[in-house]
């Protein structure tokens, strides 16, 4: 964290935001805006939005992953005696928490017969009306323009400039 201690809160502009690699890849190809939009939605389920970024940038050795491992080791040390490093690594990999998406993939629910209720079948599905309201990503008001580079919306020249300076192709990773 930078040592500007006046406040833990900093202005957006004073801070470089990390762009997720997936997002860069998606945006490099303008056809893939939909994918970028999906990645942005994914980010709404994140914990610690900026935290990981800071830790990665500073090579902080108490990053979340290391903490996880220390935590895992403590858990495993009870009851088990010596283990080879490999066995430990294997076990760690096996026991490392996986995301829900990974667990869902492993459950292969799509192979269930269609009458069986499941997580996948319970999804509400697309809206019946395709009309989408567009709000300016800068100020929130009705937006009639779309950025040709990233697909985000803005309402006016003023907001377009702000968008180009601060938001365009920058996402919260």
């Amino acid at each position: 964290m930078d040592e500007d201690n006046s406040s833990p809160f900093r202005r957006m502009s004073s801070r470089t935001r990390k762009v997720a690699p997936r997002m860069v890849a998606a945006l490099a190809n303008s056809d893939n805006r939909a994918q970028a939009a999906l990645a942005r939605l994914e980010a709404l389920e994140n914990d610690n939005a900026g935290m990981e970024t800071i830790e990665i940038n500073e090579d902080d050795d108490t990053s979340l992953d290391d903490e996880d491992q220390v935590y895992m080791h403590k858990r495993q040390s009870k009851g088990t005696k010596r283990k080879t490093r490999q066995a430990k690594a294997l076990e760690n990999a096996r026991k490392a928490p996986r995301t829900f998406a990974e667990l869902l993939h492993e459950a292969s629910l799509e192979t269930l017969p269609s009458h069986v209720p499941s997580y996948l079948r319970a999804a509400v599905g697309p809206p019946s009306s395709t009309s989408r309201r567009h709000f300016c990503t800068v100020c929130g008001y009705a937006a009639s323009y779309t950025c040709v580079k990233c697909g985000m919306r803005f309402c006016s020249c003023r907001c377009q400039n702000i968008h180009n300076d601060t938001r365009c192709l920058k996402f919260v990773a």
Binding site: D47, A107, Y119, A122, P127
Partner: protein, 438 residues
């Protein structure tokens, strides 16, 4: 079997826990570990309804680890740690002398159910387990309160559970959730807080790391709009005419470690925007595209950084708005009203009128002011004219599910509904789980 039943509503955001038969849970606790800036270690959060109002931890920029992802248990080791703290230090119970009534989200994957059973029986040695889903518990609690004459109405409800990780519309019939008819929107309180963080960070101050602070902002200042076009117009008016503008003061880390609403009266002014008051207020119907821009965007961007505060205007209602129109965010999912209609339509036609007149709102995200009003406004045109639409908000949408669990745990049938530890050892997780299905 022992007679102590621990009732544990294990939410993605909050754990609600206590003993069966009591009116309210004795502990409400964030389901996570925290690492404040001042600490190298991960710490247990303090219960949210603890006697002392002063949280000893400064949660500014604290990192968070949660055992649940998208509502489902993904990190049993972390959950074990949190539960051990809960049982030993907060509830002071001995699991081997107790039964457990545990909530689990609908459609939990078999691997997740197995991991849960292992925690309950192998790590904690509970003597018996009953797994319940939130909608049926909310239904049980509400029907116990209703003095209904009509029998049909007492037997079924359409429970809208809008929690931390997702939103479900779930028809419940004779205390069982009709899972073939349940519909889910992948949005809950967590996504709303993150969206608010994003808006405030891009528009004024960087709060991307401030989960707890922004939860507070959301809870105190957000509301559901009854007319989005109108409220967007009001939100851009200058000075005192802007009934929606309000200011939130950030913690300075010295005199206060928590943020607060600068002028609570100012923050409440939007309540005067009822359908009647609006016409007199604005004089004419506001057409969104022709609003005179009375305020330059820079005005609202000008933030006094020495004061460490930020203003909110349209963010207050654009955030909960997502639940009603996820498509506005680019999400390919129907909104809440349509979600309810689809759930109802998946049930037998005889149930349709009864379900529409017994809609129950539960879950913390239904606490936004005017949530029920807006929902009714959107739902009414989608429901056949000869059906009534009646929406009940739970008296306490955060505790309602737990209270239903407490009632169930103290019912005479409860013991017979449980799976005992010896049955689990003999039959294994998958076969025991079949008992909870219907």
């Amino acid at each position: 079997m022992s007679n102590v039943v621990v009732v544990l509503d294990n939410g993605g955001g909050l754990i609600k826990a206590g003993l069966g038969g009591e009116r309210d849970p004795s502990t409400v606790l964030p389901n996570c570990l925290l690492r404040p800036l001042s600490s190298k270690k991960w710490l247990h959060p303090s219960p949210t309804i603890a006697a002392s109002s002063e949280d000893p931890l400064d949660l500014t920029s604290a990192a968070v680890r949660r055992p649940l992802d998208r509502g489902y248990l993904i990190n049993p080791d972390l959950q074990r740690d949190i539960w051990a703290h809960l049982f030993n230090s907060l509830l002071h119970i001995s699991p081997s002398q107790s039964s457990l009534l545990l909530t689990e989200p609908l459609f939990a994957l078999p691997s997740i159910q197995r991991a849960t059973d292992e925690l309950v029986f192998e790590d904690f040695n509970f003597s018996a387990l009953y797994v319940a889903d939130s909608p049926s518990l909310a239904h049980i609690y509400e029907t116990s309160r209703r003095h209904v004459v009509s029998r049909g109405a007492a037997q079924c409800s359409l429970v809208v559970d809008c929690g931390f990780s997702f939103t479900h519309a779930a028809p419940v019939f004779q205390n069982f959730t009709l899972n073939y008819a349940v519909k889910r929107i992948d949005l809950g309180g967590k996504a709303l807080t993150n969206y608010l963080k994003e808006l405030v960070s891009y528009r004024s101050v960087n709060v991307m790391d401030e989960t707890f602070l922004m939860d507070d902002v959301k809870e105190k200042l957000c509301f559901v709009s009854l007319d989005v076009a109108r409220d967007l117009g009001v939100a851009r008016k200058p000075g005192k005419k802007n009934l929606l503008r309000c200011t939130y003061v950030l913690p300075d880390g010295v005199t206060h470690t928590k943020g607060f609403v600068k002028d609570p009266d100012q923050a409440q002014r939007y309540l005067s925007l009822t359908d009647g008051a609006l016409t007199s207020n604005l004089g004419a119907k506001v057409d969104m595209d022709h609003i005179e821009v009375t305020e330059k965007p820079e005005d609202r961007k000008r933030i006094d950084l020495t004061k460490n505060e930020f203003d909110l205007t349209n963010e207050r209602f654009l955030v909960p708005e997502m639940l009603f129109h996820p498509a506005d965010l680019g999400m390919n999912q129907a909104g809440l009203a349509e979600c309810i209609v689809r759930a109802v339509n998946s049930c037998h036609p005889h149930l349709h009128p009864i379900l529409y007149e017994s809609i129950i709102l539960t879950g913390g995200s239904t606490l936004f002011p005017r949530f029920a009003e807006r929902l009714e406004k959107e739902l009414r045109p989608l429901v056949p004219d000869d059906y009534q639409v009646k929406i009940t908000t739970q008296e306490n949408p955060i505790l309602g599910v737990w209270r239903g669990g407490s009632l169930l745990a103290s019912s005479p049938d409860f013991e017979a509904m449980c799976v005992t530890k010896s049955e689990y050892e003999e039959l294994g997780s998958a076969r025991c789980r079949r008992r909870f299905f219907h």
